[in-house]
């Protein structure tokens, strides 16, 4: 794809890899540009972030 605007597939890969390694500055910028214009990838990125936040706050709110 274009050097400036990665496609969903590449953005998806970057979003997933970004959870386990630090992305380079260029990768971050490419991802950010794509997310600004793509609702699908924005939703996906939010999903994996929420998943992470949820596991980290397990077992959840107090049962009171």
């Amino acid at each position: 794809m274009s050097w400036l605007m990665p496609d969903c597939k590449e953005s998806h890969r970057l979003a997933a890899e970004g959870l386990d390694r630090e992305l380079t500055r260029t990768e971050r910028m490419r991802l950010r540009i794509h997310l600004a214009m793509c609702a699908s990838c924005t939703n996906f990125t939010r999903q994996v972030n929420l998943l992470r936040a949820a596991i980290r706050s397990f077992p959840g709110p107090d049962q009171r």
Binding site: C8, D20, R46, Q47, A53
Partner: protein, 199 residues
């Protein structure tokens, strides 16, 4: 909040012990998911609860008791991994593979075939629902054993992928595939059983 004792050597009060005991089943189910070994899980939970009782005077009520004990348990489990490093069998379906499944999500032009659901109007609200965590736990339980374990090491114990590879003796590309697959499955499971049903 429970009124804990302030003296280091005084025994914790009855309410404190009662609350701790009530948490045991939940802690145990999580330790089992993580360790995949009920003896080790029993031990880890036992140790965590004893440590919590011993250190009751240090519990300041700033976080909830559950969060505090969970943190202690998490550290016990990390210790357990560090003590006995074992070779681990990968689940059959956990083996490395090309990411063909990855391609299935996208059109030839590299666009999503199906838009992922919108989950995060209000993440705080989701994370304050107890039922959500029950669904999440059920989804994690459904993961293949090794997948669930690697995923929880990464997300719950917050180990780096390097540490996980090292502890479990798996390659980093394997580790990455396992994590990716775990996330995709959990995403699907939560969409099906929680978010989709609430849209």
């Amino acid at each position: 909040m429970v009124n804990t004792t302030t003296e280091a050597n005084a025994p914790p009060n009855a309410d404190f012990i009662r609350e701790l005991t009530a948490m045991r089943p939940k802690l145990l189910s999580f330790a089992r998911l993580q360790l995949r070994d009920s003896h080790a899980a029993e031990d880890a939970v036992q140790e965590a609860l004893l440590a919590a009782m011993e250190q009751a005077h240090r519990f300041e009520g700033r976080s909830s008791l559950r969060t505090w004990v969970t943190t202690i348990l998490r550290n016990r489990i990390i210790d357990h991994f560090r003590r006995g490093r074992r070779e681990v069998q990968l689940d059959d379906e956990d083996g490395a593979e090309d990411l063909a499944s990855f391609d299935g999500l996208f059109t030839e032009k590299g666009r999503f075939r199906e838009r992922p659901g919108d989950w995060a109007n209000d993440p705080e609200a989701t994370l304050s629902e107890r039922q959500f965590f029950e669904v999440l736990e059920a989804c994690v339980t459904k993961l293949p054993a090794q997948t669930g374990r690697v995923f929880l090491m990464r997300e719950w114990l917050e180990l780096s992928t390097d540490e996980i590879c090292h502890e479990l003796g798996i390659s980093s590309s394997n580790c990455w595939v396992i994590l990716y697959r775990a996330r995709m499955r959990l995403r699907e499971c939560l969409e099906l059983n929680w978010f989709g049903a609430r849209r």
